[in-house]
């Protein structure tokens, strides 16, 4: 099955990491641990990955990286005292699992 998205790991350095023209041409989606989703088989997506020095990952590899980050955050949350886990107003909730799309 042809994939819809491709993934890479690239550190967001701030201004210029994603510029306006790039953002208007393709859809970016940022995930934990500097994992970025861009369209697959897309010239502009490929050019952006090259620009930022992104390290391309398979979906499984990217999923493992995201899972590790989420699980670490969940462990931190689990270790909080009960009193800090439930202030509903702040939505201070346990980080949820993330499933990357093919």
């Amino acid at each position: 099955m042809a994939k819809t998205y491709q993934y890479c790991v690239a550190e967001n350095w701030g201004k210029g990491f994603i510029d306006h023209v790039e953002s208007s041409r393709i859809t970016f989606k940022g995930y934990p641990a500097d994992v970025w989703q861009v369209p697959a088989y897309n010239k502009h997506g490929n050019l952006w990955i090259a620009k930022v020095g992104g390290v391309v990952k398979t979906v499984a590899e990217a999923q493992a990286i995201v899972d590790a980050e989420v699980q670490a955050a969940q462990a931190v949350w689990d270790a909080l005292p009960d009193a800090e886990k439930a202030p509903a107003l702040e939505m201070n909730t346990r980080p949820t699992d993330i499933t990357l799309e093919e």
């Binding site: 967001n12 701030g14 201004k15 210029g16 990491f17 994603i18 510029d19 306006h20 023209v21 790039e22 953002s23 208007s24 859809t27 970016f28 989606k29 940022g30 995930y31 934990p32 980050e69 989420v70 670490a72 955050a73 509903a88 107003l89 702040e90 939505m91 909730t93 346990r94 980080p95 949820t96 993330i98």
Partner: protein, 328 residues
């Protein structure tokens, strides 16, 4: 075939760097990059990355009026609760003088050189005024609150509305020296966004019931009364807002109640309806906002695994941009 000079009366000029202030439609050759370029306008709004805050945090307040290149971010939570203030210059954030009292979910208003921090959590009525350099304590709100929203042109004219108080509809007007209760919102709410000024503003979505039940609609303020207007396509809490008045605003990010993941959703208000537009690149809730619907800013917030320092710059359709002309 007509030549460029025949149409425009000028030749395509060579530059070693792109010109500083090109006019729309101007074409030039960048001899350093060996590329032909044109000054054009964007056809769709989109978010690009900006400089990161020095301190990642959520639940910040902001100066909601002003340019994308001059914003102020103050207070918030890591934890701990912060008194930190940072100023953005269009490229990077710089730490400036702290609030006198650390707090989060502050109702903020104003500009980078003239702002107001009203109330916040731990629940307080304290108000501080920013003169571009430092914060000074001024008159308290009549009703202590956090989780509400604030709008205003500067530190002499602001409006605070909503929040986690028994009557979430209470609205207060600041005249530079004191707060006065004015007309209530039609639907009290908390964890909403706001945009505009104290004479032409908008309250965007939020929730009742201590954050449990979404209020999807928006209300506009004309200086004396609130009017209920159209629903957002996706009502939510803890979203950010930008916009100059009651006829143009953005509502971005946020979350659904019940511990759902942070959202990247972005909607634009044109004075009569909300339309979904380009999402944030990084989903987040409890996000700060500044600027306008043509040049906005989103910063801070809580992303999927914790607080974030990431800043994103919004350029709406029609914004000027330099594009490279390619022939293949």
């Amino acid at each position: 075939m007509a030549e460029y000079k025949g149409i425009h009366g000028t030749k395509v000029q060579d530059y070693t760097t792109d010109p500083d202030n090109p006019i729309t439609g101007q074409v030039w050759y960048n001899e350093t990059a060996n590329t032909l370029k044109v000054e054009s306008a964007t056809t769709v709004g989109a978010w690009s990355t900006g400089g990161a805050l020095n301190t990642a945090r959520r639940q910040v307040a902001s100066s909601s009026v002003g340019s994308q290149t001059a914003a102020l971010c103050f207070g918030g939570d890591g934890p701990p609760v912060y008194a930190l203030t940072e100023a953005y210059n269009g490229t990077s954030w710089t730490e400036v003088n702290d609030l006198n009292v650390a707090r989060r979910f502050i109702q903020g208003a104003g500009t980078q050189t003239s702002a107001l921090a009203a109330g916040g959590v731990p629940t307080t009525a304290a108000t501080e005024s920013w003169n571009g350099t430092s914060w000074t304590e001024v008159g308290d709100l009549n009703t202590a609150r956090g989780y509400g929203s604030g709008v205003g042109a500067d530190n002499t004219a602001a409006l605070v509305f909503g929040g986690e108080v028994p009557d979430r509809a209470i609205t207060e007007l600041w005249n530079g020296s004191a707060w006065t209760e004015v007309a209530n919102m039609n639907t009290g709410r908390q964890q909403l966004a706001g945009a505009g000024t104290s004479t032409s503003g908008i309250a965007i979505s939020g929730a009742t019931d201590t954050g449990a039940t979404i209020v999807a609609n928006a209300e506009t303020w004309n200086g004396s009364a609130w009017t209920e207007v159209a629903d957002l396509n996706a009502g939510r809490i803890d979203l950010g807002g930008t916009g100059t008045d009651s006829t143009s605003a953005l509502g971005f990010g946020g979350a659904n109640p019940g511990g759902a993941a942070a959202l990247a959703t972005n909607e634009e208000w044109n004075g009569s309806s909300w339309s979904e537009t380009t999402n944030l690149n990084t989903a987040r809730r409890q996000v700060g906002g500044a600027g306008t619907t043509t040049a906005g800013l989103a910063f801070a917030g809580e992303a999927a695994t914790g607080v974030t320092a990431v800043t994103e710059e919004w350029n709406g359709a029609g914004a000027p941009q330099v594009r490279t002309i390619t022939t293949d």
